[in-house]
Symmetry: C2
Subunit: 197 residues, 2 copies
């Protein structure tokens, strides 16, 4: 979970990642809107330390959640209606890296660019391409936004597992929540009608 270059399809910071259509100035206004502060950056760093050796357990939980809901698992299935094991596995590795990136990476131009890449990979623009699969062409916007809840709610017990004070856990959780909302906001770009983002 640390040698990022070994993850198939993970292209963070690489030249083939296009520039985000969202400017750093627009990002800063979004950060103001979600009450983002330096404190959040610090507590996300702490969360990164807390979560690093729990990534597999977290992914087990999230994959269990998706796997037990046919309306979600659907987006990982092939033309025969069966889940595509290699697709699930490859995305899982990138998802694990993303947990760490969320906590550790500076939210700069390279981060913004990869945010857009992730947006395109959920949207019909680019879904399925990186892994060469024939799954449904798009994750609908409604599930992308709704997923803010499970991705935020289920992380809390993991944040509490390393003996931090309730106040520290609450602050790590708060910073995580803000980051998830920020990222889903950025990911909504390709879904929005011209001029509506």
């Amino acid at each position: 979970m640390t040698v990022s270059t070994s993850i198939p399809g993970y292209t963070y910071g690489q030249p083939e990642v296009a520039q985000s259509p969202i400017s750093l100035e627009a990002l800063a206004q979004l950060q103001e809107t979600i009450l983002w502060s330096e404190e959040d950056v610090r507590y996300l760093q702490m969360a990164g330390e807390v979560l690093a050796d729990q990534v597999d357990e977290i992914l087990d939980l999230w994959y269990g959640f998706v796997g037990s809901h046919p309306h979600l698992l659907h987006y990982f299935t092939g033309p025969d209606g069966q889940p595509i094991a290699s697709y699930l596995e490859r995305v899982r590795a990138r998802f694990g890296q993303w947990i760490l990136d969320t906590c550790r990476r500076p939210y700069d131009q390279a981060w913004l660019n990869y945010q857009h890449e992730i947006a395109l990979r959920h949207h019909r623009t680019k879904k399925n391409q990186v892994d060469g699969v024939e799954a449904p062409p798009i994750i609908p916007l409604r599930y992308l936004i709704a997923f803010i809840v499970p991705i935020t709610a289920t992380i809390e017990p993991f944040l509490a597992k390393k003996g931090h004070s309730p106040e520290e856990v609450a602050k790590m959780h708060q910073a995580w929540f803000k980051s998830i909302v920020l990222q889903v906001t950025l990911w909504s770009y390709p879904y929005a009608r011209e001029g509506d983002f």
Copy 2:
């Protein structure tokens, strides 16, 4: 804050509110996705009792937040760049009623229909019409989603003000969080490209 019929532009349950394009079945799948349960319904009822006589204070806080950020206040300004006092005031009354509706109303067809009405009122389809103003034509999707953070984070102290146990406050807050994510999800409908919602 209780006689809802006296609120200008508030049309919940009235015949002029169109049917939501989102089905009750799609709503149920969204509720599954946000881990919605009967417990959340009960804790939102409790939240409704806790918040009822604090609505004005909550609105003062939220309006203070919007008012202190030019990039947000912008959506309440007229062609001269000045905030439109009557617009702010009329929306404020509906916003107050919405806090209670969020806690008390059953999430049924009438609720779904008014959700869509609120969506259209933030979107260019219908913004400004109800109050007859010439403010900017749309609240961008990015701010709609980002607002999940302030609307969720700032409610917690109000939930804690009536002597409930920390566990009860956490559960009310959790239910509120889920409801806000659910509602913003429904409000994203008119913003999404054909087939992307």
